[in-house]
Symmetry: C2
Subunit: 342 residues, 2 copies
Amino acid sequence: MKKASLNDIAIHLGVSKTLVSFVLNGRGKEFRISDDICQKVMDAAKEMNYQPNRIAQGLRTGKTNTIGLIIADIANPFFGKLGREIEKEAALNGYSVIFCSSDENPEKSKQQIAMLQQSQVDGYIISPPMNSEPQIRALSKGRTPFVLIDRYFADIETNYIVVDNFDAAYKATTHLLKLGRKKIANITVNLDLVNMKARTEGYKKALTDNGILVDKNLIKVLPFSHESMDISLAITELVGHKEDLKADAILFSTSKLGLNGIECISALGLKIPDDIAIVSFDNADAYKICVSPVTVVAQPLQEIGKKAVNIILDKINSPNGTPKFQQYTLKTEFIIRKSCGY
Amino acid sequence: MKKASLNDIAIHLGVSKTLVSFVLNGRGKEFRISDDICQKVMDAAKEMNYQPNRIAQGLRTGKTNTIGLIIADIANPFFGKLGREIEKEAALNGYSVIFCSSDENPEKSKQQIAMLQQSQVDGYIISPPMNSEPQIRALSKGRTPFVLIDRYFADIETNYIVVDNFDAAYKATTHLLKLGRKKIANITVNLDLVNMKARTEGYKKALTDNGILVDKNLIKVLPFSHESMDISLAITELVGHKEDLKADAILFSTSKLGLNGIECISALGLKIPDDIAIVSFDNADAYKICVSPVTVVAQPLQEIGKKAVNIILDKINSPNGTPKFQQYTLKTEFIIRKSCGY
DNA sequence: CTGAAAGCGCTTACAG
DNA sequence: CTGAAAGCGCTTACAG
């Protein structure tokens, strides 16, 4: 069964494709095409199972109704959930989305941006990896709108949506302090990312505000493509000797770190929260059913997804609208579970 | 900065766009275009940051280098990981993928298929919801290749990749029996899906093969859009009274069920595996750090993803190749952890 | 009210 | 070796 085109319908009905196009785009009334003909066209379209060729429409109109999404890894539940929200909001507006996982690798994201560009996407939603400034700067020279999520670059003016990482880390650390923890560690990944940096800064500020000196040995910065091994090592250094724990609490800056970390902690025979208290960024499902359910900083994923899509739509519909850039710093939610001893 | 087209380069260089097209498609040698001109064209393309318009190419060639993927929910880690493998394999072959989450809703998948059709995807990878037979049947009337994953319809001849669910459930149940469990329950979702049905069948067969009567009260079938409430209820019915446990083990047919189930079990104050043993399908990350790490049936996600993409590519490249349909039933891996008492 | 025609950016027979 | 031309399937000024 071959696909039917506009022209096939036109020929079948003995009218012009102009007319068919008008009717099928719901502009029949506008051009005062008789109800009779309108009906005939619509019937024929249905009968021939006409599916408009979006690619031809795209070439002609310059709009593809497609959004490109670049995140670190769709298999990471944080990005999976976020991706889902973006897909949902896009679909509500008739847009589809092309998913790309960059693995935090700027080479990959660069290639993915090029590919999306070639695909003529109408907009991009990007969680930019480290060292991808040049790509983002190049993008902002173009006409296609984009919004950065999860992180942004302070020295490039763009649309962005992030959360208040500093504040969240500050509160999480303060929570631990209030519960009497003194030797609070922070395990994080490469600090060149503004969001990660803010988390550690918030952690430090909470300590100093409470008269505690920041101990560099308690801050473990892992490479981005960390393996369980790296985390094992970090944890062992922090809590290796039960008799002489260097740390009595850990703030994990990502859930990937936290989940691996908890596995190590359990393996070492340490009890959460008795021996060591835990707080983590991101509300992974696993945290709910952990040995002791984990207190977390939850991000408003639905809001981020919705806003991201709507910023793109705004810009598509009024490219020169005000404000020139939309920038949001959203609040996080602090969910207290058992892992800190309340 | 406006995008440069083939024609822009041609004009800039004072040659025809035919020539530019040949060179840029690496067919310069083939048409014996002088190295000198080739170089000039390539330099100009780079200088003008030429990006081929894939949409125009698509319209002309009938190939979009895009695959459409329909799964239940990209936020579900099982599908997230699978989606990632598919994305990876597709990218290796120069294809991008449009992700669609159907929520197991045939209305949605129908609409998504139509949308992908209109987008002129070169192939589909689909995890078809219940009651989507008509859509799949319609698809097989068309010329675009597709492969079903995770499930298939016995009465429609298609490409598919599934796992041996019967065998996996049989082994999991046998494992529990060997460890002395007698009252093994199965919590699953709507049985109209062939994969879910096979899991319960394997479970039943293992029981009867070991001389145990199947007790219908021990099989809980939840609606597809189940909530924690439903699971709570099911669990309570099975293990509600500690003095008189109806079940001493549970086989969960999906990890979503299992994760929620474990939460309930913990809430009821029951110990795993002492009071109740647990086995689950799908190797969710959370299962590794559970109160007691969960014994699981793991699916070969990478293999599924790779095969799915390659079946599509095969069919694109030789539409009439043999075999007419590629059908795989892959083996699962049984990973023994603490939740059954070994 | 309706149709002929141009054109979006490519690729590819065809001609020379 | 290189170019003029057709055409993929649409939309949309323009003309009548």
